[in-house]
Symmetry: C2
Subunit: 462 residues, 2 copies
């Protein structure tokens, strides 16, 4: 029985088991669901024991528990792989927009509908079928690489204890590659792998002028107006080519390779349709010399998220206001360090504040580092072969705009990342009526089954 046949024979049971897990409302952001998050961890631990994982543990955190399971390779020199996913889910509000109960998973055609079907229980679960299919096809009792499953319980509430968890269990999690199964493909027909996620750092700027609002009839035009200064400052943040002017901002950016740009360009991207999904935006916009996909995936940005000052209520109030505020966020890409960008921005604001205005820059937290896995790396190439074998067609590459705990995995475990996932942008994750395409979950299982052999070869020889 080959991998595909095993999966075909197992699918009914597979979805029945998954539905049991999905029925547990493991909403990590809701304190009243704490017991359910633990129940979800227990359920998964018990299931993993049942399918043969020799080691299964609940790893406690000050918040919700993670599940760790290890299946060592027979060969002690075989590469080790950490597979990352999460068993907690998003809240379900607004409940009245759900067509079915979020925690009573329902099949409609090829779709399985319910909270967590795509993000991320369904995608964790395909690995359980993948590993069994691989063993069934090979007749072995252990996978060709050591598989370490790490399924956290706090991803949807900020992964607040995750870095600490990784540091605590660093030895046990030592590995040659980290597989992330919490992203999406381009589309059902265009299998693809994510190769990076943008990082983030935020800043709030306050500009202060006079100590109180002044009557603009008496003082207007003769003292600095902090709103004018803020407008000028924020305008100066980009040059005429849409590039960020903070000195050194691009210095560490890993440039897009021609190969990656070519592969991006081969994606069937409909810009008009994309603009419609972008709130019916009227025109594309951004850094000169890059396509829309390159701009959102592989280029760093500075975005004003909010701005306020002076009189903002109804009617007029002819004042020179005492202060102006703005919230700014920077999306960062491979190579950029949030801390370095923060310091450059702080210095830039100081240098660009006009005389008579005082600036204060507040930076909330350390930011999120970007993560990146170069398409020419051995891990990515191996995973691409596994996916191409499962899907029977060429696999392209994407990146994603958001980012979660992936950078911590890469940095703390000091291992390259590989993204293997079968979610779709249309899965309505974080929204009502979340769904997953069941045939894609089975393709994911198939790719996962092939992945261990590919890794065993590629990572040993690398």
């Amino acid at each position: 029985m080959d991998v595909s046949e095993y999966i075909g024979a197992s699918k009914e049971r597979f979805f029945a088991d998954l539905k049991e897990w999905l029925a547990i409302p493991s909403i990590s952001g809701d304190p009243e669901r704490s017991a359910d998050v633990r129940r979800s961890a227990d359920w998964l631990a018990s299931y993993l024991r049942g399918i043969g994982f020799p080691t299964v543990e609940l790893w406690e955190t000050p918040g919700h528990p993670a599940v760790f399971a290890e299946w060592p390779a027979a060969d002690p020199d075989a590469p080790a792989v950490v597979v990352y996913g999460h068993h907690d889910v998003q809240p379900v509000e607004p409940l009245d927009e759900w067509e079915t109960d979020p925690f009573t998973p329902v099949e409609k055609g090829d779709r399985l509908i319910g909270r967590g079907t795509s993000d991320d229980k369904g995608q964790v679960f395909f690995h359980t079928l993948g590993i069994r299919a691989g063993l069934a096809a090979s007749g072995a009792t252990a996978p060709p690489v050591t598989v370490k499953l790490l399924v956290e319980g706090e991803e949807e509430s900020g992964s607040v204890h995750f870095a600490e968890l990784l540091r605590t269990h660093r030895e046990r999690l030592s590995c040659d590659v980290v597989v992330i199964s919490d992203t999406t493909m381009w589309s059902e027909d265009v299998p693809s792998m994510c190769t990076g996620m943008r990082g983030l750092t935020e800043a709030e700027v306050a500009l202060y002028g006079p100590e109180r609002d002044l009557h603009s009839g008496s003082f207007g035009g003769a003292v600095p107006n902090p709103l004018h200064a803020m407008a000028a400052l924020l305008t100066a943040l980009h040059d005429a080519d849409g590039r960020v002017t903070v000195p050194g901002f691009y210095d560490d950016v890993v440039p897009l390779t021609d190969e990656e740009r070519d592969l991006f360009a081969r994606l069937p991207f409909d810009e008009a349709e994309w603009l419609r999904t972008a709130g019916n935006s009227r025109a594309p916009y951004g850094e000169k010399g890059y396509t829309t996909l390159e701009r959102v995936w592989a280029r760093p940005t500075a975005e004003i998220n909010g701005m306020w000052g002076g009189h903002t209520g109804p009617g007029g109030k002819t004042i020179v206001p005492r202060e102006a505020h703005a919230k700014i966020s920077f999306r960062l890409v491979a190579g950029q360090e949030p801390g370095k960008v923060q310091e450059s921005f702080r210095a830039w604001v100081e240098q660009n504040t006009p005389p008579g205005v005082r600036a204060e820059v507040t930076i909330p937290g350390g930011g999120v580092r970007p993560c990146f896995s170069p398409i020419r790396s051995a891990g990515v190439q191996a995973a691409r072969r596994a996916m191409e074998k499962a899907f029977g067609k060429e696999v392209l590459f994407t990146r994603e705009g958001g980012s979660g705990p992936e950078a911590d995995l890469a940095d703390i475990l000091e291992a390259p990342l590989v993204f293997l996932a079968v979610g779709l942008n249309g899965d309505r994750i974080h929204a009502p009526n979340e769904k997953v395409e069941m045939p894609l979950l089975l393709k994911g299982a198939e790719a996962a089954a092939y992945l261990w052999d590919e890794f065993a070869t590629a990572l040993r020889s690398s």
Copy 2:
């Protein structure tokens, strides 16, 4: 008995009468004080009859009544003068900051403290003493010019019915000059006359981008951000020299004459002290080539009064916001028409809105026209002579930043304006503990007494 002797002999009675009027809480903005505003008008009308005005009338409006009093010159060909002031007062909140009851006028040294002492009952009242002093000194039974006192009751609540009142009584108010007694002098030691008030027009700009707030991780850097567009638009409103860039903005501006600039420069202006009063502003600022006084008095400005958009609450929210807003006001000077500036600004916003962003400009009302009385005009020169005679020293010139119904007086009555007033910037008008310097009110009366002779000569021959 000359003017000065008459005033010296009458002052006790003058202040006793004024206090009676000040005790009436004629707050036009407070509907519960309507009866008091009328009582104030009645009191004044009765007083004016008592001192000999042949004609005294209450002029009704849909709001509060004005008082009109006319004392014709003996010579039917003599010039006619309208004297403008108001008998209503500002509210008194915050009451607990008053050291004495606002409507129980109290003398402390040279000061008379109470609501309306400076703005404007005290300054209206010095005319009643001035006209009597002039008659006493000349021995005549009528003034050398026809004096028409117009004392409105709604100035502190926006003069909403004033233009209509002027149009209704246009014939009765026909005159050769309008004397405004509702402004200030440079200081107690530096008598001066105001020669103009800036006008005003306001606008609100809304810029619209995507139809909803977008996730900046997914869309940031690839669609237009209305906050960026707003910052750029507002920055483009001024050039590097601090000049407003709206085409034609300066076309109709009456330039400052060298004489007026020289006279401004002779005022003992302490810029450091001025910056302290400007909310401790840290540096002067504004249109290149002009002094601080020229900037606030005689140059038009564009000022951002408020600006908002996107996330303005606590914490971060990494969005590309759907819209941005700003409130802008233009201070206008002699020659500029609010309507023309409004239309130019509307067109300028349209032309400066980037692709992918939609602009909406809302203009509330028609604005306030500036007013201006050239220092070389016969009326201003005559009034200056009268003031110099009263004060015994050179009279300089100022302008003021605010503006009230003065432009309506000039436009509807088609007469030049002359500002004769003895208030001080330190009189705390509109604030707790409003006061007037009693010796200055008496100087005002003396100047008013001389004014009619000066006008009789100057305006007849002009």
